[in-house]
């Protein structure tokens, strides 16, 4: 009996001693959560977001605590994961896939004090910001290299999920491939997933079998590059991440997502209390989209041409969607010298003239 009282007393004393410390540490640390669609080891999209998370930790050290959940399916399950994160005391939550848009908005309505940041979406709220990168700028550079490098004039494109983001990438790559090579033709295969290495590998093989000697991908794994390496005389590009491990083989350049500066800035804003709902869409200029090193497989003059285009885009002197451009059905879209506005780009649901096939609905 006595023993038990003693124990109880000890526990109570411990709890008393510990609780102020606990409370203090909690109020000091800013908790930042990340919700990922794939595994952090995918080598592409999620990998780069996780690099951003690590950059936040490196920047603020003990002042922040980061948490993440990987492989979260887009849909109702995401809402559960985001809610759990908010309940666990996160001050700022990044949800990093298009399909988390509605779940993020729903959870945000229930937690007005928590700040949310949704990647690649368009719905905002007082405590929800959206951010995305202008990947289509990078695709213009890829398209230029692809158009110059193809010998069969067939370029294969692995589409993930038919949303404006992906359609925009196809159009941008196609416009710039045609610009340098009027005979070029695109073959597009949709896999309806962001990440499925086996399916991506099969898709790449099919495109190669049907004559493509350049593979562009908008899926997250390195499987298409592995398939290209096996085929031998096929080139490809890193997607989302540099994928430099294939630099000696098929990879000639890449589009790199660089989220770290943004994540650091937004975390800082929460810490300072200056956070506001914003809509960020940055490209090559501010450095949110990087172009991975163009390898020596690409002839010097093509490399120079690609880099010149990159610089023109970065300085704002050139916009990848500049008229004259027509839609697939032949109707006029942009007049000579006219550029597309962000609203049209954000909701792009049509192919430009010259592309074959239909966008799956």
């Amino acid at each position: 009996m006595k023993k038990r009282t003693l124990l109880k007393g000890a526990v109570a004393a411990l709890a008393l001693a510990a609780s102020p410390a606990l409370a203090e540490s909690h109020s000091e640390k800013t908790k930042v959560g990340f919700v990922y669609v794939g595994p952090v080891g995918d080598g592409g999209w999620t990998y780069e977001h996780d690099q951003g998370r690590k950059a936040v930790e490196a920047e603020f050290g003990d002042a922040v605590e980061t948490v993440y959940v990987e492989n979260v399916p887009e849909g109702p399950d995401a809402e559960r994961v985001i809610t759990q994160m908010a309940l666990d005391g996160a001050d700022l939550i990044f949800t990093t896939s298009f399909g988390y848009m509605d779940p993020t908005i729903n959870v945000a309505a229930k937690f007005p004090d928590v700040k949310f940041e949704h990647a690649t979406g368009y719905k905002t709220a007082p405590n929800v910001s959206v951010y995305s990168a202008r990947f289509y700028e990078g695709r213009a550079v890829q398209g230029t290299i692809a158009g110059r490098m193809t010998e069969s004039n067939v370029i294969g494109y692995i589409g993930s999920v038919p949303i404006p983001e992906v359609v925009r990438g196809i159009n941008s790559a196609f416009i710039h491939a045609r610009k340098v090579n009027p005979d070029v033709q695109f073959k597009i295969v949709w896999v309806y997933e962001w990440f499925n290495p086996a399916k991506e590998a099969d898709a790449a093989k099919v495109l190669i079998e049907q004559g493509a000697d350049v593979i562009l991908q908008h899926t997250d794994s390195t499987a298409p590059l592995a398939a290209a390496a096996e085929a031998g005389n096929v080139i490809g590009f890193g997607q989302a991440s540099d994928m430099a491990e294939y630099a000696d083989g098929p990879r000639v350049s890449s589009i790199i997502d660089n989220w770290a500066p943004y994540y650091i800035a937004r975390t800082k804003a929460v810490m300072d209390g200056t956070w506001e709902s914003t809509n960020t869409w940055d490209g090559i200029g501010p450095g949110m989209v990087g172009i991975g090193e163009i390898t020596d497989k690409v002839p010097a003059e093509v490399k120079a041409e690609a880099l010149a285009l990159k610089d023109a885009i970065a300085s704002g002197e050139y916009q990848p969607f500049t008229g004259p451009l027509k839609k697939q059905d032949g109707s006029d879209w942009l007049a000579e010298g006219e550029t597309a506005d962000d609203g049209t780009l954000a909701g792009m649901n049509f192919y430009v003239e010259g592309l074959e096939g239909e966008i799956p609905q």
């Binding site: 595994p39 080598g43 294969g156 086996a198 590998a201």
Partner: protein
């Protein structure tokens, strides 16, 4: 649409490659279910085999040792399931699902250091003379060894189940474990052996993905192949050769739909993507119409826990 751009021979050849992982996992699961055990952990054993095989192949530089390692890892993991269900008498469905979750986590832990590496390439086996036959040669006889090993395992399983005493005992255990026990057969031991075989086959299937079909290691790379293998066993109504047909059908449709897309076919390809599952459902409905479980060919003791009371 330009169907002429599809190389039908290459399509047939790549169909055999696309089908091999689910064929291996499927035939292993068939044996497990024939012994009366329902192991839903195929996906977990496949992904564990994928990383174990990948790691073994990278470390030793030998794809053959990679496949052996994958089989061993799959069998080892399946023993966890065997202990749970055969000795601790845990629920098979729950244990199988747990095994899948465990395998996915374990594989991503094991795979930490292997992301971005390239495995040693598995040599193609251009069988002399046979691979030079026009049309048939490139389609049938110029694959890597595992494609033929998978077919050989199907043939072996069929022969053992049909013609040998071992096969008969295994089937007896799966049909009526009480009776088999009364006759003096060691039900638990036989079931454990079947589970180990199933694990080894699933491991091989996973390694085929990470070493040949993709070939690289990425977390979650099986992405549902194990579940297709489970559906395949039902589709095949527990008959080995039908597993082969089913695997080629499923694999074929996957490859065909990608080919049709690349050729610019104007039908919604989502229908083709889901067709393997629709076919499974249709077959299930047809086979089960009015004649019950027996007509499906399911082993009578499937999924039931055995505990020797006597």
């Amino acid at each position: 649409m330009d169907l002429s751009s599809i190389n039908w021979l290459l399509l047939l050849a790549s169909l055999m490659v696309a089908a091999t992982p689910i064929l291996l996992a499927g035939i292993g699961e068939l044996v497990v279910e024939k012994a009366g055990v329902l192991n839903l952990g195929v996906e977990g054993m496949m992904i564990t085999g994928a990383i174990a095989g990948f790691a073994a192949a990278v470390e030793t530089g030998s794809p053959a040792l990679g496949f052996l390692g994958a089989a061993a890892a799959g069998a080892l993991l399946s023993m966890l399931f065997a202990v749970l269900t055969q000795f601790a008498l845990a629920n098979q469905v729950a244990s199988g699902l747990a095994l899948t979750l465990f395998g996915l986590g374990l594989s991503s832990l094991m795979g930490q250091g292997y992301v971005g590496l390239k495995p040693p390439s598995t040599p193609k086996l251009d069988i002399p003379l046979l691979s030079e036959i026009p049309v048939l040669g490139p389609v049938l006889f110029s694959h890597d060894l595992m494609v033929y090993v998978a077919i050989a395992i199907v043939a072996g399983t069929w022969a053992v189940l049909k013609y040998t005493r071992t096969g008969l005992t295994l089937r007896a255990v799966g049909e009526n474990h009480e009776a088999a026990h009364a006759l003096g057969y060691k039900v638990i031991a036989i079931r454990c052996a079947a589970i180990a075989f199933g694990g080894a086959c699933a491991g091989l299937g996973g390694a085929y993905l990470s070493l040949v079909r993709v070939p690289q290691w990425t977390e979650g790379m099986t992405s549902g192949a194990g579940w297709i293998a489970l559906a395949l066993v039902v589709f095949a109504s527990w008959k080995p050769w039908r597993v082969l047909i089913g695997a080629y059908l499923f694999g074929g449709i996957t490859v065909l739909q990608l080919n049709l897309q690349a050729a610019g076919l104007k039908v919604p390809v989502e229908y083709l993507s889901m067709s393997p599952y629709i076919i499974t459902i249709v077959v299930l409905v047809v086979m089960s119409s009015g004649r019950g479980r027996g007509a499906l060919g399911a082993p009578a003791s499937l999924g039931r826990t055995f505990h020797a009371t006597g």
